[in-house]
């Protein structure tokens, strides 16, 4: 692939990505105070956050194909998530919860595979 066609390829991808980010701001600029927009501004972030959690944990499917069956990282993922939640409810220190959970997860997956 030539340099110029590679640049065009990257430019198309950049424009398409930026478009998805900027369209609401351009299309609805005058409606920022509309009660529906405020409603979404209040309720959408927590909704999206939990959906992102579910998405991140999607590989954990213990009953896939009707039998007990999870990937190598399935149980460590759930155990580490529980550690994060418990640590956070206990100490409410975001960094501690994240480092504690991630450390535990790394220890678990690295020891099961090697």
């Amino acid at each position: 692939m030539s340099q110029s066609s590679l640049l065009v390829f990257i430019a198309v991808c950049a424009v398409a990505t930026f478009a998805t980010r900027i369209i609401p701001f351009v299309a609805l600029a005058r409606h920022a105070d509309h009660p529906l927009i405020l409603h979404l501004g209040r309720y959408l972030p927590p909704t999206v956050m939990l959906i992102l959690v579910i998405y991140a944990l999607r590989d954990f499917r213990p009953l896939l194909d009707g039998q007990f069956n999870t990937g190598a990282t399935g149980w460590p993922m759930m155990a580490a998530s529980l550690i994060v939640a418990v640590l956070h409810l206990w100490r409410r220190n975001a960094l501690l919860s994240i480092i504690g959970g991630t450390g535990a997860y790394m220890a678990m997956v690295q020891s099961t595979i090697t």
């Binding site: 991808c13 701001f25 959906i51 959970g101």
Partner: protein, 231 residues
């Protein structure tokens, strides 16, 4: 607040994203070089596209020799969840001035999550939102550089470190629940999220779940208005 302290504060907030973006950025860099992209092109993508899953997709499409139209459509589809992010930030970004274009450009899943969960005393602190957004991209670009330079010889056993992003989303969900004290958004997320996992293929999962959740919130809003309208 002095400038160094302000950046330090933002740095602490983005630390969990750093743990996720450095290894993921490196993974992207390694992949890009492996499929034969020159290092500068891999880096340019992290600078001007800046979308995790989007860049992995672009590299895959490039390697497969996909056309520009295919690339544009696939990118729009994959990233269309950002439409909903913008909807809920219209008010938040109002008055951000010269920072606004960058705030919009740099709106990844992780940056959106951090900005919408900032402590309330920062209500509309555009400076902080800007510093958080910029630092997140710095982590992503540094990861990319490490990936294209080190290639597959990266020695540190970092397997599993990307769990930091999952942990970040869990912590932010708990913080959001603490602040809002309403069960509704979490019930909607459970329904649409689990429904998506069961019914949709991976690549449509996020868009499907977030789109469905936005629709339900729209109905919820109309229901509330109808109730107000009837005496």
């Amino acid at each position: 607040m002095s400038l160094p302290r302000a950046w330090k504060e933002a740095g602490t907030l983005t630390l969990p994203v750093m743990f996720g973006y450095l290894p993921l950025g490196a993974a992207y860099g390694i992949l890009a070089v492996e499929v034969g992209m020159p290092w500068w092109a891999a880096l340019l993508m992290s600078l001007i596209i800046y979308a995790g899953a989007g860049q992995f997709l672009a590299v895959a499409l490039l390697a497969a020799g996909a056309g520009l139209m295919e690339l544009a459509v696939a990118t729009l589809m994959l990233n269309s969840r950002h439409l909903f992010y913008g909807l809920s930030l219209l008010k938040r970004f109002q008055g951000a001035g010269w920072r606004k274009p960058y705030l919009i450009f740099a709106l990844t899943d992780e940056t959106y999550s951090l900005i919408t969960t900032l402590p309330t005393e920062h209500g509309n602190d555009h400076g902080l939102a800007f510093r958080v957004s910029l630092l997140n991209q710095v982590w992503w670009v540094l990861g990319t550089i490490a990936g294209v330079l080190a290639g597959t010889t990266l020695a540190f056993n970092s397997q599993g470190i990307e769990f930091a992003l999952t942990a970040l989303f869990i912590v932010l969900t708990l913080e959001q629940a603490r602040r809002l004290r309403r069960w509704l958004p979490f019930a909607i997320a459970l329904g649409t999220g689990l429904g998506g996992v069961l019914l949709l293929p991976d690549r449509h999962l996020l868009l499907g779940a977030i789109g469905a959740a936005s629709l339900i919130l729209l109905f919820h809003y109309r229901l509330g208005r109808d109730r107000e309208a009837t005496p």
